[in-house]
């Protein structure tokens, strides 16, 4: 009752499912809210999932949501559905990028300023990013390297949990795994990241 009152008064954010139902009824603004809510975490997940172009994953995922909006009947949570689509897209992208010998220079590095790898290499070499905290940048680099060393399953679970904010139940549903299995993968990911980033902790 209280949650309903808060929702009516606008104090509590409207759920994803309600927003998507509004979009299905012809409200385009609901989709804007959904995009703003999930685009960045989704991009972070795609980036940690190893996608060379995470923006493409985000765009393709939302376009699939828009196209298949009529078929979504609410069997699962909207966020789970969205990340399942993004995960499948990442799998397809990794299959396509299997023959790539090295990282693309057009691939974004995931940094705050949205620079590509080529830009970052060029700028870091000349030390123009003076405004950024050196420690954070070092940690970002070390974190990316540590994440790259994790197995795909552990990295996926960690990204979905820490970067995208999904619950373990949602992760289990999105990855078609047991919840305890997901938590076990999470623990091993934490252990390895702790060892790899011990200098920063």
């Amino acid at each position: 009752m209280l949650s309903w009152l808060l929702m009516v008064l606008g104090e509590e954010p409207v759920s994803d499912e309600t927003l998507f139902a509004r979009y299905q009824n012809g409200d385009a603004r609901a989709m804007t809210t959904l995009y703003d809510r999930h685009a960045r975490p989704l991009r972070a997940f795609a980036q940690q999932r190893g996608a060379a172009r995470p923006d493409d994953i985000v765009q393709d995922a939302f376009l699939r949501v828009v196209r298949n909006g009529a078929s979504f009947q609410g069997q699962a949570k909207f966020r789970t559905w969205l990340y399942t689509i993004a995960r499948n897209l990442c799998v397809d992208a990794s299959r396509r990028d299997r023959f790539r010998s090295g990282p693309s220079l057009d691939a974004p590095t995931g940094s705050e300023d949205n620079r590509t790898l080529g830009d970052r290499i060029a700028n870091d070499s000349i030390g123009t990013d003076a405004s950024r905290n050196l420690a954070d940048r070092q940690f970002q680099t070390a974190f990316d390297a540590a994440m790259a060393q994790l197995p795909d399953e552990q990295r996926e679970v960690f990204a979905l949990r820490e970067l995208s904010g999904l619950s373990f139940a949602e992760i289990a549903e999105a990855t078609a795994s047991n919840e305890n299995t997901v938590k076990s993968r999470m623990r091993y990911a934490l252990k390895q990241l702790r060892e790899a980033l011990s200098d920063f902790l």
């Binding site: 012809g26 995009y35 685009a39 939302f62 828009v66 995931g110 076990s184 623990r187």
Partner: protein, 433 residues
């Protein structure tokens, strides 16, 4: 959950899950619980602290924005999609829209759940009267054996019992689900008065069984549908009691043996006394028979035959004083034995006489003596059989005498006595004479 998922749910995974749960609680700022304390042996507190620190560092990492081009593409497509959705909805009739809304998983699940709850509640409400009905039927089933005994109420010996307990026949048609042919056969014998409207439900089963046994045999005792004699049932009950209670059976057997001894002694005494009376009665009877037969015989031949017939009686008459003297001289102890033996000997002797008899008259006399001797000796069966044979022999003798008398009567006398002759013929015959 798939099988693969289930197999992956190992003990190690549960431990890992507990660690991660503790980590999650730490991250969320919750206080450490008892479960966290139990995990101290599994994980060091420092490890959890390191995890929390890692989480904070990762959370502070800036997430890169998605390109603006991506946003515009997505929102444009979303606007077009929203228009299509709206147009589709407007094209649909309200009924189809309502149906499509109802058939969504959410409302459908809610409706199914509500229906299940309603069904469960209704079934629960119906359970109370059903339970009472089950109890009633169970009690009725318990009373069912009385139905099998109900036909016996109509027997002559039963009214007193029926008056004491007229209830058993009441639930017969409704409470006996098993088809019992005897009950069906005997049902019409139940009088209307012996069938009260209702049977007491809480009657003890033991009482019912006792009453059932006292009322009559069970259908198993009468497989042909007819009830066995009540005496046989009583004997069976006594035998069953004797089998079930060895001490009681033994005592009964002792009592029966004592009774038999007493009866034997009494019978010996009676035989002693009856032997004397019987001898006198035999003598009197023989005299009467001889007198009767002499009166019936009109020819010398028949008189000789009567004397021949009375020869055993005369011999008996001659032997009688000697037996009487012997009986008087014997002491009381041996008297009974002698009397019993004498009675048995008399039976045997007269039986032999009956077998040796060559004429019906001899046979009649011998049979009469045999009947008396058998009665004195206590041989009822022999006495009855002899009596029947006596009747037959007497009938034969009568027929023979009639035939003889017809042969010996002159035709003139025969005409006088012949009822078939007319009065005119008799007048003519008189006139001739």
């Amino acid at each position: 959950m798939t099988r693969r998922q289930a197999t992956e749910n190992t003990a190690q995974e549960r431990v890992d899950a507990a660690v991660v749960d503790a980590y999650e609680r730490r991250v969320a700022g919750h206080a450490a619980t008892a479960e966290d304390a139990a995990l101290e042996a599994e994980i060091a507190a420092a490890e959890l602290s390191a995890y929390v620190s890692l989480h904070q560092r990762v959370a502070n990492l800036p997430q890169g924005d998605v390109a603006l081009g991506v946003r515009s593409v997505v929102l444009t497509a979303a606007a077009l999609g929203a228009q299509e959705h709206a147009a589709r909805l407007n094209a649909q009739s309200p009924l189809v829209r309502a149906l499509s809304w109802i058939m969504r998983p959410g409302p459908l699940l809610a409706a199914v759940t509500a229906a299940a709850v309603l069904v469960a509640v209704s079934v629960r409400h119906e359970d109370a009267p059903l339970a009472g009905a089950h109890e009633d039927s169970a009690v009725a089933m318990a009373d069912a054996p009385t139905v099998q005994a109900a036909p016996e109420v109509a027997k002559p010996a039963a009214p007193a019992l029926a008056a004491q307990d007229p209830a058993p026949a009441a639930p017969a048609p409704a409470a006996a689900p098993t088809p019992e042919p005897p009950a069906v056969v005997a049902a019409p014998e139940v009088p209307a008065a012996a069938a009260p409207p209702a049977a007491p439900m809480a009657r003890p089963m033991r009482t019912i069984e006792a009453q059932t046994a006292s009322l009559g045999p069970s259908p198993a005792d009468a497989p042909t549908g007819h009830a066995a004699p009540r005496e046989e049932l009583a004997k069976r009950e006594v035998a069953a009691d004797a089998e079930q209670k060895p001490s009681a059976g033994k005592a009964k057997a002792e009592v029966a043996a004592a009774d038999e001894t007493l009866q034997a002694a009494t019978a010996s005494n009676d035989r002693d006394n009856a032997g004397k009376k019987a001898n006198l009665a035999n003598l009197e009877q023989a005299k009467l028979d001889v007198a009767n037969e002499r009166a019936g015989y009109r020819t010398p031949a028949s008189g000789a035959q009567a004397a021949q017939d009375n020869a055993p009686v005369a011999a008996q008459m001659a032997a009688e004083p000697q037996q009487k003297d012997n009986a008087e001289t014997r002491n009381a102890g041996t008297r009974n034995q002698v009397a019993g033996k004498a009675a048995a000997d008399a039976v045997e002797r007269w039986r032999q006489s009956v077998e040796d008899a060559q004429t019906p008259e001899e046979r009649v006399v011998a049979l009469k003596q045999l009947v008396v001797a058998a009665q004195n000796a206590g041989e009822d069966k022999i006495a009855k059989a002899a009596q029947q044979a006596l009747k037959a022999a007497q009938a034969q003798v009568v027929a023979r005498k009639r035939a003889q008398s017809l042969q010996e009567t002159p035709p003139s006398q025969r005409a006088k006595t012949a009822p078939s002759q007319g009065s005119g013929e008799l007048k003519a015959q008189k006139a001739k004479e």
